[in-house]
Symmetry: C2
DNA sequence: ACCGGACATCGAGATGTGTCAATATTGATA
DNA sequence: TATCAATATTGACACATCTCGATGTCCGGT
């Protein structure tokens, strides 16, 4: 594997491309964007993201999220990590609890990239 | 694996949900939507889709697409099949050639689901 | 200082995915 | 009909991913 330049999270790089329907996506861009879609391409992570996004105050404690699933605690922790690493979820620790919130522009930029409404 | 009800392609089911940021996605909906994102979550397939979408007349022959990649013919064929099966690409055979075009509303509906601009 | 609870990390097993070479299928053409 | 070119399918392999139990870490309370 050749080392690329992961200085930005996938979420940060997604804002800089014109819609996929407008002009052919470069190989580079595709490689940078796909991890973001890969992070979303799991039923559990999709629901986690949706739960956090639609939660009161826009943030949710891990303890809130666990209850919605019939999965072990490490598994939920793993999925949250994936969403966090690509930049979709922000993370803040308060006391013993960890809160996640959706990175504001993330989904919008991705939607623009796919749907072609944005730049 | 329990059999669900795949009477509709993922693309067809995606239009019926409110944005993920609006209310928690049901487990069912998440399971139906994730295959669509999974299909997109590969650099090669992202580029294939983009190539088809931005091609003249909105459609492209497989022979056109192969050239853009340093991959074997079966591999490209496989990726096109994945995109076709989830309903992102339509397929039409003319003579010996096979042409693919983007299912019109597919990306827009997905963008609406993610970005929350749609219903 | 100790303990308990919230969350993360580790290691392992089962399953899924991307890729290729080989082969099959289909349609045009000689 | 025989053959060639375009695309699909099959079988196999390496690698990634999802999940869990066990364990580690960090913080608050007693």
């Amino acid at each position: 594997m050749s080392k690329s330049l992961p200085l930005l999270t996938p979420v940060e790089t997604v804002a800089c491309c014109s819609p996929v329907t407008r002009e052919p996506l470069s190989a580079d861009a595709a490689v940078r964007i796909s991890p973001l879609l890969k992070a979303l391409a799991d039923p559990v992570r999709l629901r986690l993201l949706s739960l956090v996004a639609s939660h009161a105050d826009g943030e949710a404690c891990v303890c809130d999220l666990q209850e919605a699933f019939d999965l072990s605690q490490p598994t939920i922790s793993h999925h949250l990590k994936v969403l966090h690493e690509v930049g979709l979820l922000e993370r803040s620790k308060r006391g013993v609890w960890v809160y996640y919130r959706v990175q504001p522009a993330a989904l919008g930029d991705l939607a623009a990239l796919l749907g072609g409404v944005g730049a």
